[in-house]
Amino acid sequence: MQKKRIVLTFPPNLVEQPITYHLVKDYDLMINILSARVTPKEEGKLVMELSGKKRLIDEGLQYLSNLGVNIQPLAKDITWYKDKCTHCTACITICPSGALALDRKEMLISFIKDRCIACELCIPACPYKAIEIQF
């Protein structure tokens, strides 16, 4: 059983096709949509977590790729710049998933990538631009 977080970019011609349906039906994948931005006749972007057998995840991703969907692992998209962070802790009440965590003894922030759902709420909250998201 494997989990994978990915960012899918759908070109305009695919936006109105029920593609994620096939990931579930044909590849037996559990999908959890973390965020979605879909505009009819324009580009569509989905951030999702896929769970399932490794072979089926690979096949499912190949299916998407063959259709022309652009796939990017989520891990590459969010960067926490440790050197820019001043550990002011302005971000911790903004982050809904606990990806930005505070060690209250050391009063130091750390970024737990696995918890990040790419909601982007932290970005305007950080005065030092220590978090960047590249979609």
């Binding site: 302005a90 009440t93 005065p127």
Partner: protein, 400 residues
Amino acid sequence: MAKTIKEINEKIKRGSAVVVTAEEIIDLVEKKGVKKVAQEIDVVTTGTFGPMCSSGAYLNVGHSKPRIKLGAGRAYLNDIPAYTGFAAVDIYIGATALPDDDPRNQVFPGGFNYGGGHVIEDLVAGKDIKLVGIAYGTDCYPKKKIETWINMKDLNEAVLFNPRNCYQNYNVAVNLSDKVIYTYMGILQPKLGNATYCSAGQLSPLLNDPYYKTVGIGTRIFLGGGIGYVVWNGTQHNPMVKRGENGVPKFPAGTLCVMGNLKQMSSEWLKGASFTGYGATLTVGIGIPIPILNEEILRYTMVKDEVIWAQVVDYSESYPQVKPGSLGEVSYAQLKSGKITVNNKEVPTGGLSSYAKARQIAELLKRWIKKGEFLLTEPVAPIPSVESNIHFKLLNERPI
């Protein structure tokens, strides 16, 4: 038994001064008692690293050939206007200044990505800065336009001069309205969604010397990674607020005007900051050493987060409309726990002042003093305290 700063400096020069931070002193006194520790400890170091908007630097960029009079002309550093109401080549760049074409809040909330504070950080980091100057020209200063790179190492003077820094305590901000608000205290979620605070608490310089008995005009400090001096009280200095039994103000109180040679500072401790929907500013690192001259002064440095109180203020309505009253008092221990209770609701807390960096500053200053690299100074004049009867006034608007 009382020590003098002169005696402490002799010990520092010999490398035998006993120095601890304002955090370490707390446990030390609990273990050994006030009397013993007052004899043993020579200096307690404090620190803070937070956004301080009333900051800036004046520069003398040097004369061009032929000469140009930037004074009463216009000057821009990386497209950000600098103040030119001085002589020919003296300009002042303020922390919150923005480029003329920055959209500010026209597309709400604005990003304020690059402002005066960022220019100062870049200048201190040794980066080349674009200087554009427009002058009206005189017989003795004929040049009317200049466009050149400048670098800190080439400037005659680059002096950090901050009219208001080092706030003695501050508010805790919340949002009672039903919309997100964007403030200098950060992004505040609706209906008490979060609370923000801005103080180093028990490490904070003026909270460890609440009546300004040792800090005064001429006090040598850690400023922006180098040496600086307290030169006056800061603007809005307000010593007469309500204080706890330990003398620590429960409302924003004293402030300091500080200055120092920018050329020996570091961008590690002077950072440009952007507050979404609010503006740009400069985050400043300050550390002040407190000479333990007697038991009374030691008692002030013993202060801990549990007994430092701040007011919870609504920034959606009360603060902007200048409505008095607070939603209650909370301690910095409560704030740092991650949750406070306001109007029977549990509210998560976040900070704007870095406690981790305040600790580093207190440690650094401690190390400088122990190594004999930093001597304390005797203030040449005091900062007005509670006998001064100085009260912070609002603007008395009188129609023209």
